[in-house]
């Protein structure tokens, strides 16, 4: 039964990845938890809850499902839907305070751009412990006495996730385009669908190539954002591969002709452009090229830094290292930063902040209040 639900959630939520799908909030008992069992928290996106439940099967603990309006942890916390209020509310109304004797709650690390550990402690008395990025690391994290390896802290874009994103992109687009063509130009429907799905898979399968090209360039640009040119080169590459594949298939079936190739090229060039327009924005490891706050830079006031390692602990890109001699944090890999703002939001001594391109500082309290980050709300002007 629970396996079936897991399967349905995975299929449905992969096809409709861009639509929030909420599930019930509250406390879920995993195994046979007692008064000392760990308490974990997650969002109320259905797929996330199913995956977390599967990842921690066999461990006696409590799982709190907080209201994020059916959006995943990262998008919801950066976008202002999974907030301090969601956490305070679930702690106070779920009855968890009567179930356990301790006051330690493990939050997903990616919630660090939206939830303030300090506020949770002040208002509820609960200590926030930042867990791993991925649910599958939770068992090891618990065995490890709540210590995270650098690997557990880092966001990745592995093959499985790339395939999910290609389906998530191809499915709604093929639904819309397929439906339109069915009525307007039915002959073109099948070729268009073939092009949408294969281009989408090609783009994300070959993504490591783009990554390598972009990373090399990022090292040379001060703000660490790959340029539009990389995207252009990469989309031409994907387009070329697609045309090559089509020609091979046509050659093997004996239908190869210039007219045919031209027709396929015309269909696919538009699709390639649409797909690659914001390729980086479709990945968790780069920022969208369209957002203005890609121009912000993070700075550390080393006089204020107390060397507590919080920034290192919440950074999903492993940008920070500790200068053990001076006991301060250093951003050694600044070009990897995606500006999720987690380090700024959590810094207990307000030593981190954004600097705008015109030189002005955006102070941490503004960033916390308005969720100024790569996806969040923009009550504050960036440019």
């Amino acid at each position: 039964m629970s396996n079936l639900r897991y399967l349905v959630a995975n299929v449905l939520c992969t096809l409709l990845r861009f639509i929030p799908i909420p599930c019930r909030t509250g406390v879920i008992k995993i195994g046979n938890p007692g008064r000392d069992s760990p308490v974990l928290l997650t969002c109320n996106y259905w797929l996330t809850v199913e995956r977390v439940k599967k990842a921690i099967r066999g461990i006696d603990c409590y799982l709190l499902v907080a209201n994020s309006r059916g959006i995943n942890v990262w998008c919801a916390s950066a976008g202002g839907h999974l907030t301090n209020h969601s956490v305070i509310s679930i702690l106070k109304t779920s009855g968890i305070e009567e179930l356990v004797g301790h006051r330690n709650i493990i939050l997903p690390q990616l919630a660090a751009s939206g939830i303030e550990a300090k506020v949770i402690k002040e208002k509820t008395g609960w200590n926030v412990i930042w867990g791993p990025v991925y649910a599958h690391d939770i068992p090891e994290f618990l065995r490890n006495n709540l210590k995270k390896t650098p690997n557990m802290r880092e966001i990745k874009f592995p093959l499985r996730q790339r395939l999910e994103i290609s389906v998530a992109w191809a499915f709604p687009i093929s639904l819309i385009i397929g439906l339109i063509l069915f009525f307007v130009f039915p002959k073109l429907m099948i070729p268009a669908l073939v092009a949408i799905w294969s281009l989408s898979f090609l783009t994300f399968l070959a993504f490591p190539l783009f990554s390598r090209m972009a990373d090399r360039r990022r090292k040379r640009t001060p703000n660490g954002q790959p340029r539009f040119l990389d995207t252009l080169i990469y989309s031409l590459f994907v387009w070329g591969i697609f045309i090559l594949l089509v020609s091979i298939v046509e050659f093997l079936t004996g239908q190869l002709s210039w007219i045919e190739i031209l027709r396929w090229a015309a269909i696919s060039v538009i699709l390639t452009f649409v797909l690659n327009m914001d390729l980086m924005g479709l990945t968790p490891i780069y920022r969208s090229e369209f957002l203005k706050d890609r121009l912000l830079t993070i700075e550390i006031n080393q006089e204020k830094c107390i060397g507590c390692r919080t920034c290192e602990n919440v950074c999903p890109r492993n940008c920070y290292r500790m200068d053990e001699e001076k006991n301060v944090a250093v951003m050694v890999e600044a070009e990897r930063c995606i500006k999720c703002g987690a380090c700024i939001v959590q810094c207990p001594s307000d030593a981190l902040y954004f600097r705008r391109p015109d030189g002005e500082i955006v102070p941490p309290e503004v960033i916390r209040k308005f969720k100024l980050n790569f996806i969040g709300t923009r009550a504050v002007r960036v440019e």
């Binding site: 998008c75 907030t83 209020h85 509310s89 914001d278 969208s288 996806i375």
Partner: protein
Amino acid sequence: MCAYVLMRIFESSPKKYDWGIRIITLGKAENVYDSLASHVKSGQRVLDIGCGTGNMTIRAARRGALVKGIDVNPEMLEIALAKIEKENLSDRVELHEMSVVELDKEESESYDVVTAVLVLSELTTHELDYTLKEVMRILKPGGLFLVADEVVPRNRLKRVINWIIRAPLLLITYLVAQRTSHPIKNLPERLEKAGFIIESIRVSRLENFVEVVARKPMRETE
């Protein structure tokens, strides 16, 4: 491109909020605020739960009440603050970024009126129960709880009609204002169960929206 559009969608812009409410309520919102505010008297202490951009808060303050507005969205509060300053009501209004689960910090029997317009439907069931209990506690005996919200119609046919009308509206409001809503089931019963006496109730023709004036009973000894 998808991701870009998506991010825009996640940007819950409060500027679009009033607009979104107007679509969801088919323009009824203004009348609702006015008719509920008419129960507020000068000098009374009012708590506006989920004050949003301040529509109810301002109306209550205009009638001479001392209003505390609470909301979880700091951007909405920012807009409310600007509106309040424009109307010169700052000395009668205070705003706090606070959620309903923090109502336990409020003193017992300290408010004459508590208002909640289009906010109970945004709460989870646990939060709703908690809120009703706390409102009961912080109201003075005889105090009023003014509620307006979307509800699930009782009549099955109306439920179906309502669903058909709402589906496209919900889609539009979601895309434009990123607002979804979850109509409440059995709102009047829930209020009665929490101990309120229902003074008056106005139901829309499709039974999908109610305005309730509920009263906390006087002490029995009085």
